[in-house]
Symmetry: C2
Amino acid sequence: MSEAVVKDNQKPVLHALKLACSNCSLAELCLPFGLPDADLSQLDLLIDQRRSVRRGEHLYQAGTHFESLYAIRRGFFKTHALTEDGREQVTGFHMTGEIMGVDAISTDIHACHATALEDSEVCEIPFTRLENLIREIPALQRQFHRIMSREIVRDQSVMMLLGNMRAEERVAAFLLNLSQRNAARGYSASGFHLRMTREEIGSFMGLKLETVSRTFSKLQDEGYITVDKKRVDIIDMERLKALLSHCSPRNVL
Amino acid sequence: MSEAVVKDNQKPVLHALKLACSNCSLAELCLPFGLPDADLSQLDLLIDQRRSVRRGEHLYQAGTHFESLYAIRRGFFKTHALTEDGREQVTGFHMTGEIMGVDAISTDIHACHATALEDSEVCEIPFTRLENLIREIPALQRQFHRIMSREIVRDQSVMMLLGNMRAEERVAAFLLNLSQRNAARGYSASGFHLRMTREEIGSFMGLKLETVSRTFSKLQDEGYITVDKKRVDIIDMERLKALLSHCSPRNVL
DNA sequence: CGATTACTTGAAACATATCAAGATTCGTGG
DNA sequence: CCACGAATCTTGATATGTTTCAAGTAATCG
């Protein structure tokens, strides 16, 4: 396995690692879901580059030309946009198996920045070649459409959250969402390490960082969770879910 | 042209009208954008049914099985979801040329309701057949992906709006968005008729109806717009846009 | 034309933001 | 490995914007 590491403060490091969707443990969360082995090997041919992005570095920047989607192999990302006066708004947090970059398809320009919140690795998916392959593999086409659609549903859930919920409910929804996504990846549903700052959480949820901090403290005082800086443990999952029972038409986030 | 009108209070009326994307004036806002004539006639074969939905009726309901996307031929829709305790959240307003239903692709179940806010007509696009056709026409594939991606970008803009803006800014963004979309369809950018109630606007923007009403009055008092119940005229477009200058990374909504 | 729905406006209540200060943690270079 | 400076987090007091409650008016539908 040859490895060419190019160290640079801004640009992500590029590896010439051999990838294989066909034996990737994340397949069922990702593009290969539902594909028979024969088709998987075609995906293997397409996705031949892995890219390493270190904590704090960006994977792509808003305004740059769009060429590839990225599947997260390992790590954790935020996507965010900057307003004219320099404030940032976080538009999403992204875990292993998720696809980033679909927002750029509409204009061929990335609509947001993607920044690693921990040392990460992504699989690069050249989009033009993906479109070609999609035309030949109906199951891949269907899965790709599902992934795009899922993103739309997810964003609309966030809209409902921002439009309807109070701070306590927002933070509860946020934690439950992380919990579910952890569980789907085989990790603990009840305890995890937050990769983002209070400010980033607040930006995503439409709250100020002080409010996020206060709300964590309140949820802890009331016995829902324990918080120790970045470590969160859900003590009473049922009651935490009950906080949202009246505002979720289906699963929130 | 044979026409079979079935009157019913709940179900949309079904017409057996002949449709033709190939001579539709909305083509450039819709699925046919960028297709050569030869391919257009294939789309014509696919989209053979038009459906008439009267004001107040739904086009589809949340929870029902997904079979078709719908392109708005004429009219105006809202999409909305109900929370468990019966409140509704509006997730979007939709004008001619726009495609509705993509949120259902992820699960094969509609994630929201679609209700006509005026007498409307939609073109029904059977999704399985669309996927087949997309595999044969690369330009159609590209356009479909763009439409899905555009929806994601739009939803993320709403997230930024709900997360960052105060009431006055939200309402300004809302009016400017309607203005732009009107202009793109050849209508006036400065004056239009609101199809939705104050409550629906508020639901979409994360505000109470009283706040929407007050904000309209305030924008009128300050000379940005005039409001006469459902009629809105933008008096000073530049100043209205300036209200948003500090919170938009690019076009809002 | 009467009843229902939609809209406007005011006053008070409430939730979150803002400002501020101190404590803790993290990253970096010595 | 330690120490220092920067970044992050917590908590309190006050300010602000939006919601809630309430009442009255206007418009729409049958």
